[in-house]
């Protein structure tokens, strides 16, 4: 009989313990304890439901009044008699900024993850992991302050150069002569905030690539880049996509950093990334909140509801993708 190590490990020398979690608790103290824990554990459910209920009940009259144009229209006016609350420019702006951020952040993050896992010497990759953690820990308020006072002038300069040399491409067109507070800059700021998320998730899945596969690829004479392209990236694809979706969720909901670097205009800017016109639901809520009329407050709650549902869907898809791709690895 051959004894493998795995059977030795799983067969414990004492009878399999009975887990009390599945049977009825007997004593009163146990009942109180498990009751308390169950109720507290369901707090996330209560909070999520609470968010849905409170945001929708308050904003429902406004949304019904505006109809579908609450989402598709572009007018926002709190003047009594001609009130109109429509969020399309802000909604589109949120998506637009986030997509710019992804275009910038995804290649950088994936290369960083590859650098950490495959290329860098151990010491450097350890330092890089800490650097990514630090970047993730910097509060958004500080990124906003830095983005407004330090980054904007530099990025506006780059935007001007882009326009000067590539202005014939419609995306880089700018006939306003102003380069600050553009979606381009907001996209960069968001990219800085989501690079850590995408890098951490990508690093996690890339580092699970079986060493044997990499070795086999290298042993057959393949280059490192070949091994990464043919083995590691296909292997980690699902996880990386999940990480990108998590980053997207974060970018959609970011408020303060974008508030300071983007000019909010209630007129849709569909593709010109360098002009100082853009939109963002979260920043719009902060911008309008201070001097809002009661009806406008309810409209802002409706905008928050739209943002909440959007990020919820993106995050759930992301979590499912990440979970599925890591579970496949384990089985």
């Amino acid at each position: 009989m051959t004894v493998t190590s795995s059977t030795l490990e799983t067969k414990s020398s004492y009878p399999e313990p009975r887990y009390f979690g599945r049977e009825k608790s007997r004593t009163t103290s146990d009942k109180i304890f498990s009751g308390t824990v169950i109720v507290s554990a369901l707090s996330s459910l209560f909070i999520l439901t609470g968010i849905l209920v409170y945001l929708s009940t308050n904003s429902l009259p406004i949304i019904i009044d505006q109809g579908i144009s609450f989402i598709t229209g572009s007018n926002w006016s709190n003047i009594e008699g001609e009130e109109s609350f429509q969020i399309w420019p802000m909604l589109y702006g949120s998506l637009f900024n986030s997509i710019i951020a992804l275009v910038i952040a995804v290649p950088i993050s994936v290369f960083l993850a590859l650098f950490i896992v495959f290329l860098a010497p151990k010491a450097i990759s350890k330092v890089l992991v800490v650097i990514i953690d630090v970047l993730a820990a910097i509060p958004s308020g500080i990124i906003g302050l830095w983005g407004f006072l330090v980054f904007t002038p530099v990025a506006a300069n780059w935007g001007e150069l882009l326009n000067q040399y590539l202005g014939f491409i419609p995306v880089f067109a700018n006939d306003q002569g102003q380069f600050a507070r553009s979606p381009f800059i907001a996209g960069w700021i968001l990219a800085i905030m989501i690079i850590p998320i995408i890098t951490v998730v990508s690093r996690e899945v890339l580092s699970q690539t079986p060493q044997e596969l990499i070795d086999a690829s290298r042993g057959l004479g393949g280059s490192l880049s070949g091994a990464i392209r043919m083995v590691a990236l296909p292997y980690a694809r699902g996880g990386i996509i999940g990480g990108v979706m998590l980053g997207l969720g974060r970018a959609l909901g970011e408020t303060i950093a974008v508030f300071f670097v983007l000019n909010l205009i209630f007129d849709v800017n569909y593709f010109e990334i360098l002009i100082p016109e853009g939109g963002n639901i979260a920043s719009m809520i902060v911008a309008k909140f201070g001097e809002a009329t009661p009806n406008e407050i309810n409209a802002l709650l409706g905008a928050g509801l739209v943002l909440f549902i959007m990020t919820l869907i993106v995050n759930l898809i992301a979590n499912v993708i990440v979970k599925r791709s890591t579970r496949e690895r384990l089985s």
């Binding site: 498990s34 554990a41 369901l42 950088i108 590859l114 302050l145 830095w146 280059s223 880049s225």
Partner: protein
């Protein structure tokens, strides 16, 4: 016994000859670094082309070209992909390093001018955006931040740890569902948390703008971080420890409260610290819940309270030279608090590793 078996049969380390650096590779790498940089330096000082254009239009192509040529001579055609890959990786690394360095350096450099004992101890009464920096400060905002974070801790930590206990220890039928809900919560944008508390607590006149409202909003953001980290930590408590306690006749409550939680104590502290670090710089929810104040307000249930993120927001929005300096000073204080928290998590995990 199982471990010795494994070691005997499968622990032959592969040699991986491709990982060895030989001299020609080293020379090729050196050449690939030196040529583009010297050319860039010469062009930068001799010609008058602006730096950014030079870097993008000249340095990157030349860098790619030299890296490609040198690896081609070193390793043949298969080296080309490696050259592109390493240039892209090092560029991303440099870019992130530069961005982070710029953020940290500008906060420290500009904040240090503002930072003084009076700045961290005084409050903001009678201070206008143009008042000299020697008067007034963030003292009230530091206290306010601590107050709001403390309230959030009191609410979020028990709920978060209970969620984790439900998943790892009680293992009820809804464990998967609870984990799913916690994950869904971690995606709630901070502004939405603020809006929710505003609608649920302030619009309904339960309390006004106050520290307790801010604490509730922070708690929503903190809960998923605490719950997820606590779950990871509680999972690490060995099964045997739990089994032993059950075998001795402990009740369910006793096993969890007196065995599992004390075993995972340091890890749970890390979970709490991470939760604090997650929320401490959030501005958006506080704008909608605590509002802002110039005086020191330590009453959690009434009247607006100042916090550091909102203080930064206030002075950044007013735009004068001195007010911007105040914002930088407050940002430095916030950065210091965050780095203390960050160092704390590292210290805790290192101590734990030493213990084992």
């Amino acid at each position: 016994m199982s471990t010795t078996l494994e070691r005997e049969t499968s622990q032959i380390q592969p040699e991986r000859p491709w990982a060895k650096q030989n001299k020609s590779t080293l020379v090729a790498n050196l050449v690939a670094v030196i040529i583009p940089t010297t050319l860039l330096a010469i062009l930068f000082f001799v010609t008058e082309i602006p730096g950014p254009v030079l870097v993008v239009a000249f340095f990157f192509p030349v860098q790619l070209l030299t890296a490609g040529v040198t690896t081609f001579f070193d390793r043949g055609k298969r080296g080309l992909g490696d050259a592109v890959l390493s240039v892209a990786c090092v560029t991303s690394f440099g870019l992130v390093l530069a961005l982070l360095g710029s953020v940290v350096f500008s906060v420290i450099a500009r904040g240090l001018n503002t930072l003084s004992f009076s700045f961290i101890s005084q409050n903001n009464i009678y201070i206008s955006p143009t008042t000299e920096l020697s008067y007034g400060g963030v003292g009230h905002a530091i206290l306010g931040t601590f107050l709001v974070v403390f309230i959030a801790l009191v609410i979020a930590v028990p709920l978060g740890i209970a969620s984790a206990i439900y998943i790892t220890d009680i293992r009820g039928r809804a464990a998967g569902f609870v984990r799913f809900m916690v994950q869904a919560m971690s995606g709630v944008p901070s502004i939405v948390a603020g809006l929710f508390i505003f609608a649920a607590v302030i619009l309904t006149d339960v309390v006004g703008f106050s520290a307790i409202a801010g604490g509730l909003a922070y708690a929503i953001l903190m809960l998923p971080t605490v719950a997820r980290t606590a779950e990871e930590v509680l999972k690490l408590v060995p099964k045997e420890v739990r089994d032993a306690a059950v075998a001795l006749g402990s009740s369910r409550a006793r096993v969890t409260l007196m065995i599992v939680i004390p075993t995972a104590k340091t890890g749970l502290i890390t979970a709490v610290v991470l939760g604090v670090a997650r929320v401490v710089g959030e501005t958006a929810p506080l704008l909608l819940t605590t509002a802002n104040a110039n005086n020191t307000n330590l009453n959690p249930f009434s009247n607006p309270v100042a916090t550091i993120p909102v203080y930064i927001f206030q002075f950044l929005a007013s735009g004068y030279e001195t007010s911007l300096n105040r914002a930088w000073g407050a940002a430095l204080v916030l950065l210091l608090i965050v780095s203390i928290l960050f160092a704390l998590t590292r210290l805790i995990s290192r101590k734990k590793r030493e213990k084992q």
